[in-house]
Each structure stands twice: as structure tokens, then as C-alpha cells.
Amino acid sequence: MSVDRVSGIGLAALALLVLEETWRQRLPLGSLANPGPAYFPGVLALLLLVAGVALSALAGAGPGVASLSWREWRHSVAIFAACMFCAVALERLGYRLTIFAALGFLVGVIEEKPVAATVVFAGALALGTFWLFDTLLRVPLPRGPFGL
């Protein structure tokens, strides 16, 4: 199974999903003279479907799926988890705490830098950017418990 074949199938599946969703949401189709909200997404989803099918049909011999390198997946997942934490905690824990924690995790745990350097870096960046935006530019950033 070449990579392109898998991608093509994936895209076609996505297109079908979109078509099904548009149907389920009961968006009116309208007509050619007066297209409704379902018209444009419908046409685009069909286009995507055709592209996906064409891609997987014409895929033929290419690099196989097995040749894809996901070696760094653990690292990437960790980074992404830290980002997700930021998104979830930003308005609950406040900006400074969230960023400090996320940076501490990324630099200290994932990148395994010395504790002192991590704390200084995380603290400086969290407090510095907060000062820049909230205090200097008067763009309110979320504050968490204890007004942090």
C-alpha cells in the first residue's frame, strides 16, 4: 500500500463525511440560480472526493506506508500534549501559571535541561510576555487563582 493510495482514501473518506454532515444538518441546497448554504460545500466535497479517488487510483508504485518515518512521534506527542494543556488551562489557571508550567514541562522534562536553567527560562518568558502584553500594551490576559 503506497502512501499516496492511503492518502487518497483518507481524503475521499473525509469528503464523504462532509457530505453526510451537510445532509444531516439539513442545509438547503437551493438551485443553480440561487445556491443555498449546502451548495458550495457540497460541490467542494465532491471535488475532494474525486481528487481523493483519483489520487488513490493513480497511486501505483510509490514509497510504501511502512517507509514513513514516525520516529519522533513520542516527542511530537509530548509537545502537542503541552500545547493542549495550555489551551485547556489558559483561562482556568491564568496565563502566567499555565505558560510557566508548560515551559517547565517542555524544557525541563522533555528536553532534559538543568532545573535552574529551566526555572529561569520559564519564569522569564512567562512573566516577561505577560508584562509586555498585559501591562505595557494593556491587552488583558487571563488571570487565574490568586489573581495570578
Binding site: 441546497l29 437551493g30 438551485s31 440560480a33 440561487n34 445556491p35 443555498g36 494593556r138 488583558p140 489573581g147
Partner: protein, 326 residues
């Protein structure tokens, strides 16, 4: 043993007294005024002088935050569910009454409902005016309406968006005068103005401040206004009320709201603050520069105005219904 308990007792006493003192100390943190529209728009430009004047009165920072999206629904929803402690306020436009109705029309759970807010004060209420390109043959509103009756669905107008303020104003007229116009929605008031200036549509309902320079320059002609009274800057332009269409009354008004459950003393404090703020000379000067007259209403007066407006708009939205897609 008593020694160990003593700190606990002190803490308990402090905890009991603290809420009481916290109330006295309102406000002791920066207050946020949420503007649910992009910076530079009518709501934003009205909010900033108000916030600045309130800051002077309260001697406490009042910051403006733009939270735009979905024609104001995002910002309005955020305040509807915000903590009702008096630190989050909303500066809303008349679309606050329209959005829940539009949601009902589409059988969606409403983003918010009007009764999730406690009104604090009305700041300005600009009536919309009907403008047409200067090279069109209609010299009076009567010409326009008569022509629309003769050619239903042929005269086009632009608006800032479907079920938006400029759309609803025109709809109220259409329903009152029994005419049918062709609606070409645009993505905001700016593009709507550009469309009429370029001659791509035949008419526009607009707030007076943005079109005044074009009327003066002779590019646009004002036919009538949706207000209760004529506009000071355009004394020759009649109102639809005068012309016999009293249901065509629409204002792009801006008012300050707070979440409904905000405690009464805090609300009273805020209302007194805004009352003082609108008399501040710097505020008046700022509003003058914007050519936006200040129409201050509070309490029962505001409540009546708000409810009448909401009723008109709800009925209007219901009668517009969903846009037909043949």
C-alpha cells in the same frame, strides 16, 4: 489546645467578615467592558469614551476587550455566562435583541437570551437613514416607495449581513410600507457602503455618521430616517413616522449591560457611575467628534425603550423568516 484553635478561629472570623468587606471594596480589580464587535466599529468607538469616563468616576481601571464573532454573538454570549460580580460588562448594540430571535428561527439553541442581562444604561441611539446614489431618479421617499410597489423585488439594497442591523431596518420599512426589495448581504457595514458608492446596489439603510460626508460631497442622497425625530445634521430629511409609516422605527443603539445575577448594590453603583460618566466633558467632546449624539436613558425609561425595540425586532425577524432558496 486553645492556642492551636486560636488561628482557626481567627481565620473563620476573617472568612465571615471578608465577603462583607469585599462588597464594600467594589471595585477593587480592573473591570472589563466587552465589545462584541471589531475595533473601529460603532460599538468600539462608543465603548472607549464610556470606559474612559467610567474609569475617571470609579477611580478604577476599566479596560475594553474586543471579542468579535458571529455578528456579536460570541462577545454577548461570553458576558451572559460570565461571573456576575460586576467586573464584566457588555456594550451591546441593538443586535442583542435580534440574535436570539434568529437562532429561534433556525431551531438552534440560542447563543444567549435577552433576559440573561441586566440593563445598565443606554448611551446612544442613532436612527438609521435611507440613502440612495445621487444619480438615481428618486428624489423623495415617496418616489422610492411608489417605484418599489410598481416593481416588486427589482430595487436592490446592501446590508451589513443577514439579520443584521442594516438588514432589519430595511425589513421593517418593507413590512410597514408593503413593498418587496431585493437584499444583497455584505460582510459588514464597510463593504455595504462600498457597494452603494460603486453603484452596485440601489439603496442602503445606514447609520448617519458614516454616510454624512458622502451626502455632503453629493455622492449619496438621503431620503428619510427611521427615527422618532429628524436628525440634527440633516434637518430636511423627514422621518418615516412623518410619512405615515410609524412601524418603521429603528435605531442602532448602544447600551451597557451586566450579567443578570449581578448583585443589586453593584448594579446601582454602575448605573450611578454611567450617569455621571455621560456628563463628563471629555466624554461629551469625544462623542461630538464622532458626530454621535448622546441619548442617555436609564431605569424604567431604558427598560421601556429596550422592550419596545426588542418586540419590533422579534416580530420583524419572524416575518422575514428563513431566506427562501427556490
Amino acid at each position: 489546645m486553645m492556642q492551636r484553635l486560636a488561628p482557626l478561629v481567627v481565620l473563620a472570623l476573617a472568612a465571615a467578615i471578608a465577603p462583607a468587606t469585599a462588597q464594600e471594596a467594589y471595585p477593587n480589580r480592573p473591570i472589563t467592558m466587552v465589545v462584541p464587535f471589531p475595533p473601529g466599529g460603532v460599538a468600539d468607538l462608543t465603548a472607549r469614551p464610556v470606559a474612559a469616563a467610567m474609569e475617571k468616576v470609579l477611580k478604577n481601571p476599566v479596560g475594553v476587550v474586543n471579542k468579535q464573532g458571529a455578528a456579536g454573538a460570541v462577545g454577548m454570549q461570553s458576558v451572559a455566562v460570565a461571573k456576575p460580580d460586576g467586573y464584566t460588562l457588555l456594550l451591546a448594540l441593538s443586535s442583542i435583541s435580534i440574535i436570539p430571535e434568529a437562532d429561534k428561527l433556525f431551531n438552534r439553541p440560542p447563543a444567549f437570551t435577552v433576559d440573561q442581562f441586566a440593563p445598565i444604561a443606554l448611551i446612544s441611539a442613532d436612527p438609521t437613514i435611507l440613502v440612495v446614489p445621487a444619480d438615481k431618479p428618486w428624489k423623495t421617499a415617496k418616489d422610492f416607495i411608489d417605484d418599489a410597489r410598481k416593481r416588486p423585488g427589482q430595487i436592490s439594497y446592501s446590508s451589513s449581513g443577514i439579520y443584521g442591523t442594516l438588514h432589519m431596518a430595511m425589513e421593517l420599512l418593507s413590512q410597514a410600507a408593503g413593498i418587496k426589495l431585493r437584499h444583497v448581504p455584505h460582510a459588514g457595514a464597510g463593504p455595504a457602503l462600498t457597494a452603494i458608492l460603486g453603484g452596485h446596489v440601489d439603496a442602503l439603510a445606514s447609520g448617519p455618521a458614516v454616510v454624512l460626508p458622502h451626502i455632503k460631497a453629493g455622492k449619496l442622497r438621503a431620503l428619510a430616517g427611521w427615527g422618532d425625530q429628524r436628525i440634527a445634521a440633516l434637518p430636511d430629511v423627514p422621518t418615516f413616522k412623518e410619512l405615515g409609516y410609524p412601524e418603521a422605527e429603528f435605531y442602532i443603539w448602544a447600551g451597557v449591560f451586566a450579567p443578570k445575577a449581578t448583585p443589586e448594590p453593584v448594579l446601582a453603583r454602575l448605573r450611578a457611575t454611567v450617569r455621571e460618566a455621560v456628563n463628563d466633558p471629555e466624554f461629551k467632546a469625544a462623542m461630538d467628534k464622532l458626530e454621535t449624539p448622546v441619548t442617555f436613558k436609564q431605569g424604567d425609561e431604558f427598560q421601556r425603550f429596550f422592550e419596545a425595540d426588542a418586540r419590533r425586532l422579534a416580530e420583524g425577524v419572524r416575518r422575514v423568516g428563513r431566506v427562501e432558496t427556490r
